[in-house]
Symmetry: C2
DNA sequence: CCAAAAGTGTTGACTGTACACCCATGT
DNA sequence: ACATGGGTGTACAGTCAACACTTTTGG
């Protein structure tokens, strides 16, 4: 076995960018232009610049690939198998980002590797070990929903109870009881009703709510 | 700002090695022999060898520094501030390891940087950002206790209910009710009584239990 | 008037917590 | 005999899950 110190693996970041669109949880994928895995779909990512933190690199990737104003970014896990990249030993620090669909300033530009949101239910074959990263990210997101207030990063500032509940249902992939959901969520004291009413839909108007604080919070008990 | 691709940070691993000894949760520290932070206490760690995974490097470090047969190893988080190491940009992938005190083959050898177990209540000043890593590790360990069966890695094969409960109490740093603890733990169906009895102490002999499976398990509800 | 989502309480099951005494052994 | 941890059950409180109907608007 060849052992040699100070020959570090190359370091990249890859970012799983989640958003809710329609009735789906979606992630952003780009189409690779270069080898390896040319023309395959992949998570947006890239090599670390000199003296750049992985978090800074993630923001850079997000901005460049998705034009997204991110409201939440979290490190997930470092994937470091020496065989995950055919070019050699390249480790990646995986992040997940949450973006309210309203905050996306997103143009599907061919010259930018054709960034496209895919429903997590219909993910194409991905380059590298990106499917593993995605699976890990979804698991983390589901877990975080249940004991933190991360959901606020996927919602607009003002939202109806129905939107809130839908977001939970879409991510957890199961129906929740309307009355129990409202009761529990109100007890958490995370959101408050505003005086505003959402009219103009073809049903009874709904009260709009907002988060009391937009700081991240961990809760003892939740769902 | 100087930006340059393909100039990766150096990569290390650092391992928080937990064990229970006496009535304390302890971690292994070594005394640095070289600069930077010469003669300060630090977590055992080291640079990745060529084509070595971080997990392999962690096992190597464990074996060399602690002579420990590790029953549990888990990646925690990657710390990557460019300023955490005065020599330059060195990122570290932090791991935590759990070792049953019985499995330690541990000699406090001066020539091996004087490895010493310290109670987490009395940690000296640590090199680099190792205190942050330790704080993170303790938080993760406490969380994992409550929804997995990791505790098995800190116990001998056969143990009394009292040892089991003590282990929880020491790590969570609070007293638990004896009757409720026994009731809940038995309902989990993780352990079974053996026919063996621990005699020779100066009290009523205690039944010895064992884990039904030593594979890691996640539980819906726990503590 | 019809369709669609908004909004609202009660009950029974279950889970968690608090709490005190006798037992078997070694010294 | 006494000190030490071993071992056991009950009752109350709090939380969770199941469940259906009326309201308000737009079309």
């Amino acid at each position: 076995m060849t052992k040699k110190l100070f020959l570090p693996p190359a370091t990249t970041v890859d970012v799983v960018i989640f958003t809710i669109e329609g009735n789906d949880l979606k992630i952003l994928l780009i189409r690779r232009e270069n080898e390896p895995f040319r023309r395959q779909w992949a998570l947006p990512g890239g090599f670390l610049f000199k003296n750049e933190t992985a978090e800074q690199a993630s923001y850079r990737v997000l901005h460049k690939k998705a034009g997204a104003r991110v409201s939440y970014l979290e490190q997930l896990y470092t994937f470091d198998s020496p065989f995950r990249d055919p070019r050699g030993h390249v480790l990646t620090i995986a992040y997940m980002a949450l973006v309210s669909h309203k905050n996306l300033n997103f143009t599907k530009r061919k010259e930018l590797q054709n960034p496209t949101f895919y429903s997590v239910k219909k993910i194409p074959k991905l380059a590298f070990d990106h499917r593993n990263i995605l699976v890990y990210a979804i698991k983390r997101l589901r877990a975080k929903l249940e004991y933190t207030n991360v959901v606020l990063s996927l919602l607009p500032k003002l939202f109806t109870f129905n939107q809130l509940q839908k977001t939970y249902e879409i991510i957890l992939n199961r129906k929740l009881d309307k009355r129990n959901f409202r009761k529990k969520f109100m007890l958490l004291k995370l959101i408050r009703p505003t005086l505003k009413i959402l009219k103009g839909e073809r049903q009874r108007p709904a009260r709009l709510y907002q988060f009391i604080s937009r700081k991240s919070a961990e809760l003892k008990k939740f769902f």
